[in-house]
């Protein structure tokens, strides 16, 4: 026997891409939060030693010979905000049905993402450390490398949204919104990473 139920037309899916991006954003936030928590735990557990001038005690965590390239790190930090502005510009253009600006904004977001990758590689090369050199070094590469993978996913998202837009499928507002959300999440994560890894070290 089948059951009679009141019928209605098919509902429009409720922002599936946006909701899924929000859930994935929560997941990657937890990924990086867990890694940052371990970073802080290891840093707190590092032994204390006397400074080279003998005046004060310092944590034996960041080797003395390693200098964080602040210019490259801060440039990368600021570039994330640029990516957010570009992604939001794409949302603004999509709301106004402005296909040209929407495509341009999405393309620039992808380019800004590549600039972030460039900045991260600059940080690595200027630091001149090897992943085998010690605990700090291996953990530094692990956490910044994971962040770089997330940025690469963001670039792929921007590129996909860009090609959809150029190909005339830009009427799908939620993809552009989800794309912006992903970059906002990445920027939030990077703020925490920048403060804990590059500022507090």
């Amino acid at each position: 026997m089948t059951i009679a139920l009141p019928q209605r037309g098919a509902p429009a899916p409720r922002r599936q891409v946006f909701v899924a991006t929000a859930i994935i954003g929560a997941g990657i936030s937890m990924l990086m939060a867990g890694m940052l928590a371990m970073w802080m735990k290891f840093r707190a557990a590092a032994p204390v030693r006397e400074s080279s001038d003998g005046f004060y005690m310092i944590k034996d965590w960041l080797p003395e010979s390693i200098k964080i390239p602040e210019v490259a790190a801060n440039t990368m930090f600021v570039t994330f905000f640029v990516a957010c502005i570009m992604a939001q510009w794409a949302v603004y253009s999509a709301r106004r049905d402005d296909a040209r600006h929407r495509s341009m904004a999405l393309g620039i977001t992808a380019a800004v993402g590549i600039a972030i990758v460039n900045a991260q590689i600059a940080v690595w090369s200027q630091m001149g450390i090897g992943v085998r050199d010690g605990a700090y070094q291996s953990m530094f590469y692990a956490i910044t490398g994971t962040m770089l993978v997330l940025v690469a996913i963001g670039i792929a998202f921007s590129a996909a949204a860009f090609f959809r837009s150029v190909g005339g499928r830009g009427d799908d507002m939620q993809v552009v919104s989800a794309h912006a959300l992903y970059w906002y999440v990445l920027t939030g994560i990077n703020m925490a990473l920048w403060f804990l890894v590059y500022v507090q070290k």
């Binding site: 059951i3 859930i23 997941g27 953990m139």
Partner: protein, 535 residues
């Protein structure tokens, strides 16, 4: 009003697909029912494998005088046992059932992002194979083969990422693809549990992945921060014990919450507390993400005790309270209605009871003064939760078998298996509670004298694991036998309340030919003539 009747019979004269085409169809299908069944099927195999390994480990502990395996093999077996219990059986069983059933329950034609769910299944599958191969080659935690230890770590990360991907698909389905009129407060109990459990899984599994990334980089290149092979088990331990296991137990508890009103042939009068109870079980996620077990310490001042009691109660107590509420509301609905004894209810009720005992064990284990941390007590709590959840899952499979396979399993075959599974779960777990008080270590075989009563406890544990394996195999066999017999189930054999019972058995590829408007939490019960509604 419209009648939903979409029996998708094969066209007359159509040829059956060849074996290769059929296998390819199964392996590449985006049908959520096929993806879910693949996941559930493989995880039942993993659960049986875990029970077999549990038997071998318990036999190894029966006496100090003899040894089945050499010294290097037992830590590897224990590592595989723990992996199979949590990542091989518990998590994919729950997420797999959710993938298969949730879209039908919420009135959706498909799961959201079916390719993501499919990717999740394959990633978990490949990751699990990598873990098994690496442990078989002495590459598990503490293993001697460094390359295979790296592969073990990659396997764990891949499996966790796959489970998180499938969980994302489930959660998105509940949040975005509900039938017209179905608010979040009208979501069926199982789908609610799947939503809560999936979101909790998406929040906890990436934390394990992050730990694996650190371990992998350190193990491959430096081996200074984490201490090489020996430390792998210590750092990943949090993801394969309590309270991380509670995250997936939420979905098991939701199976009972869904089946109980159907068994009682009435509506759940305490629906809100029941949903809250299921939600509380997933509060274990809060503890899991901190990567530690929160102990209750009574050694210091009153202030210190209170400070330790707050996280202890939050992370250990809330899930226990949640299961208690779910059990209580299930009993209440039985009292309010006209219950009948069915095998799905027996499996899910007894299984949830076992989960409750395991969670209580988790609470006791985390009382510092009891001195049970790191003992076999912890293994007992884990097996209680995992085998209990697996029992509830079997209940769910029997309940939704008409929609997934188009059959019902004869009660006389399936009902006694609930008793067998209960006996197996108690025997495999409770002796470890006793062994814990005698300081028998967890995760190790050496360093303890197994002569005297310890041999008896471990012998009983071995027997329990055997019974669990037999019960799972027999349940799977009964299901396969029902499918092979070709006896088709009716569309609504349990007198169900929710949307999946309004479609034919087995459910057609797209579930619903026309979407209905939902006006309550029990839309199918609403649509039945009053004379058919018993209470």
């Amino acid at each position: 009003m419209t009648t939903i009747d979409t029996h998708a019979g094969a066209p007359a004269g159509s040829a059956r697909p060849g074996l290769v085409a059929a296998v390819a169809n199964w392996l590449t299908s985006s049908d959520h029912k096929k993806i879910g069944r693949l996941m559930v099927g493989e995880s039942i195999v993993a659960a049986v494998a875990a029970a077999v390994i549990g038997t071998l480990v318990a036999l190894e502990r029966v006496s100090s005088g003899y040894s089945i395996f050499d010294g290097d093999a037992t830590p590897q077996l224990l590592a595989l046992f723990r992996y199979l219990l949590v990542f091989g059986a518990l998590a994919p069983l729950m997420i797999g059932l959710a993938v298969a059933v949730v879209p039908m329950q919420v009135g959706s034609r498909a799961i959201a992002f079916p390719r993501l769910a499919q990717f999740g299944f394959w990633a978990w599958d490949l990751g699990s194979v990598m873990v098994i191969i690496s442990i078989a080659g002495n590459g598990g935690p503490g293993g001697g083969n460094s390359d295979l230890v790296d592969m073990y770590l990659l396997g764990v990360a891949l499996a966790a990422a796959g489970l998180a991907a499938a969980a994302t698909s489930v959660a998105t389905t509940v949040l975005t693809s509900r039938a017209p009129g179905m608010g979040t407060d009208d979501v069926p109990a199982f789908s609610w549990g799947a939503l809560v459990g999936s979101i909790a899984a998406v929040l906890t599994l990436p934390v394990a992945v992050g730990t694996v990334v650190y371990l992998y980089i350190d193990h491959t290149y430096a081996r200074v921060a984490f201490g090489g092979n020996k430390a792998v088990a210590d750092h990943l331990h949090f993801s394969m014990t309590q309270p991380a296991t509670f995250v997936f137990a939420a979905i098991a508890v939701a199976v009972l919450a869904d089946i109980a009103p159907v068994t009682a042939r009435t509506r759940q009068p305490l629906r809100a507390p029941m949903l809250a109870g299921v939600g509380l079980v997933a509060a274990g996620a809060l503890g899991a993400v901190t990567q530690s077990q929160h102990m209750l310490s009574t050694d210091g001042s009153t202030g210190d005790t209170v400070r330790s009691a707050i996280p202890y109660l939050l992370f250990n107590g809330l899930p226990v309270l949640g299961v208690l509420v779910a059990l209580a509301t299930s009993l209440f609905v039985l009292k309010a209605g006209k219950p009948r004894v069915t095998s799905p209810f027996a499996f899910s009720f007894l299984g949830t009871g076992m989960v409750f005992v395991g969670m209580l064990g988790g609470m006791v284990q985390n009382i510092e003064a009891a001195g049970l941390s790191g003992t076999a007590f912890e293994e007992g709590a884990t097996t209680y939760v995992v085998y209990g959840a697996a029992m509830a899952l079997v209940g769910g499979l029997l309940h939704w078998a008409p929609k997934l396979w188009g059959v019902t399993v004869a009660e006389k075959k399936s009902l006694p298996l609930a008793g067998l599974a209960l006996l197996g779960t108690v025997l495999s777990s409770f002796p470890n509670y006793i062994a814990g008080f005698a300081d028998q270590p967890a995760g190790a075989v050496d360093g303890f004298s197994y002569d005297g009563p310890a041999g008896l406890w471990n012998g009983l544990t071995a027997a329990g694991h055997v019974l669990v394996a037999l019960a799972l195999l027999a349940a799977a066999g009964a299901l396969i036998s029902a499918v092979r017999s070709g006896q088709r189930a009716s569309d609504d054999p349990w007198d169900g309340h929710t949307l999946e019972w309004a479609i034919p058995s087995p459910a057609p590829h797209d579930n619903f030919s026309e979407l209905a408007t939902v006006m309550s939490a029990e839309p199918v019960l609403d649509a039945k003539p009053k004379s058919e509604v018993s209470a």
